[in-house]
């Protein structure tokens, strides 16, 4: 049982990173992007490819590459979509997520295809790993809050409020939005690295677009633009989705019920929010 609680803590931390990255992009900057799963996959596969070829690389070294590749892919999706707004961006980013997943499934020599890549590392002590995950979460949270207080952070908020007006007071909005995408994607890539390390593998099925929707759900639940809220939202969603297993009902309640639940949560939140404003 205690080992299950530790596992829950690890998942909570990894999902929290995804939610924080999403919140920077969507909550702070107002860009409705739906490809956190793809950014996470980039991180996981960067880790897996590096470690499967060079098993003795230090994690810090791998981490740097993960952050870099996450940021590059963030920019890659960022640049062509910088001109898109709202729903259009959402659709384009969903498409990007699908492209990434299909490349992972089919580029066998690099990604191992549907079987994914196994890491030649021994499994971690759960307690230790939990500490590691939450250390990363805390550092990211600190960084994001620092960013929020800086001129950059206020610039991002200004873009969310009114992009044209932000431009008219001299903000280079493409630069800001590109940076938001890069940082958000890098954070998700770190989540992917932790995921791959913990499971000792990277497989494409993990990084489905339903994961991106779930992450959005966490952020909306916690309040757009509120980082602590994202942690709360993540906790609620993780507990709900693991509850059947926690209570030993997993044989009776199929996993797909989760997705129905996320849908219900998302729809009711949106309706509730609209009433408030």
């Amino acid at each position: 049982m205690s080992s299950f609680i530790l596992l829950l803590g690890i998942y909570f931390g990894i999902y929290a990173l995804l939610a924080l990255g999403q919140n920077l992009i969507t909550g702070k900057t107002g860009l409705l992007s739906l490809c956190q799963a793809a950014f996470m996959a980039i991180g996981a596969y960067t880790t897996a490819i590096l470690l499967s070829r060079h098993p003795h690389l230090s994690f810090v070294y791998v981490g740097v590459w993960v952050i870099l590749s996450g940021a590059i892919f963030g920019l890659l999706i960022g640049i062509p979509t910088l001109r898109l707004k709202g729903d259009y961006l959402a659709i384009a980013s969903l498409g990007f997520g699908e492209i990434v997943k299909n490349v992972l499934l089919n580029a066998d020599t690099l990604t191992g295809g549907p079987m994914g890549i196994s890491l030649p590392i021994k499994s971690f002590d759960k307690g230790l790993f939990l500490g590691m995950v939450w250390l990363v979460v805390c550092l990211v949270l600190l960084g994001l809050i620092q960013l929020q207080r800086s001129h950059w952070g206020r610039g991002l908020e200004a873009i969310r409020e009114d992009e044209l007006a932000a431009q008219s007071v001299g903000l280079n909005t493409p630069l800001y939005k590109g940076a938001a995408f890069m940082i958000g994607a890098a954070i998700s890539a770190m989540a992917g690295m932790l995921w791959a390390l913990y499971h000792g593998s990277a497989i494409p099925q993990t990084f489905d677009s339903t994961l991106s929707i779930m992450v959005l759900c966490m952020v909306v639940l916690g309040g757009l633009g509120n980082y602590y809220g994202s942690l709360f939202g993540t906790m609620v969603i993780v507990v709900i989705s693991e509850l059947p297993r926690l209570l030993g009902f997993s044989a009776i309640i199929p996993a797909a019920v989760n997705q129905i639940l996320f849908g219900i949560i998302l729809v009711s939140l949106v309706i509730l929010r609209q009433k408030k404003s």
Partner: protein, 241 residues
């Protein structure tokens, strides 16, 4: 001396011509008014001059620099600020933050806080600094938008209907504010339907209709120009019917 000029500025949207070969000269240190019936191309020409719309053809020259088609933020950094016909404030941010975001580029990091505060005080918004922009009364929102534009320290300020929706007292206050900017060396261009404001504030008026300049000159000469009267009231035989 000319601060900004357009040469054969042209903008069409699909088949609709919004600005038609417009030649404008904005004199430095003056308040210039742009008037014309609805749909005359006033806002579109503003947009072309501030980078929100890219002109189909023609040129915009500011301070001897060709700024045609530059992105809005670059144009702002060169010294042109603007307000919008329908308010575009950072609604969920505080009054203070609205100004601080704009002031960032023109103030050193150490002075940003202080400068933003001084600026709010000067414009009579200091009392409201912690209010969210959307919670301000309409008149003060208009004032805040001007404050935000001016915080970027422009040489040229475009005001798109600064008095729309304001009562007489507020309009008077805005006029005094604009005059005080002019007296401190700023060049101002105003679009406005309030003729009292235009006639009292502007030294020079340009009249547009169907995207073209139909008259320009001092308020008196424009007021009596038959073409202007026709644009606003229609031809005499139309009116007689």
């Amino acid at each position: 001396m000319t601060l900004l000029s357009t040469h054969r500025l042209h903008k069409d949207f699909g088949g609709i011509v919004a600005v038609n070969d417009l030649d404008l000269n904005i004199e430095k240190g003056f308040i210039t008014g742009i008037i014309g019936p609805n749909g005359a191309g006033k806002t579109t020409s503003f947009n072309c001059m501030t980078g929100l719309d890219v002109p189909t053809s023609g040129q915009v020259i500011f301070n001897d620099i060709d700024i045609t088609g530059l992105p809005t933020y670059r144009i702002n950094r060169l010294g042109i600020a603007r307000t919008f016909q329908n308010l575009r404030l950072f609604k969920e941010m505080t009054v203070f933050e609205n100004v601080r975001v704009a002031k960032h580029r023109t103030s050193s990091a150490g002075n940003l806080q202080k400068d933003s505060g001084l600026w709010l005080e000067k414009l009579g918004l200091w009392t409201y600094r912690d209010e969210r922009a959307k919670d301000l009364p309409y008149g003060l929102q208009k004032r805040l938008e001007i404050a935000r534009a001016m915080a970027t320290n422009p040489k040229l300020l475009f005001l798109d209907e600064p008095a729309a929706g304001l009562n007489q007292t507020e309009t008077q206050e805005i006029m005094e504010l604009i005059r005080s900017f002019r007296d401190s060396g700023l060049t101002v261009v105003v679009i406005e339907h309030d003729m009292h404001l235009i006639m009292n504030l502007c030294q020079h008026i340009t009249v547009l209709n169907f995207g073209q300049k139909i008259a320009e000159g001092s308020p008196e000469s424009v007021r009596n120009d038959p073409q202007v009267i026709e644009a606003y009231l229609g031809k005499e035989d139309h009116a007689a019917r």
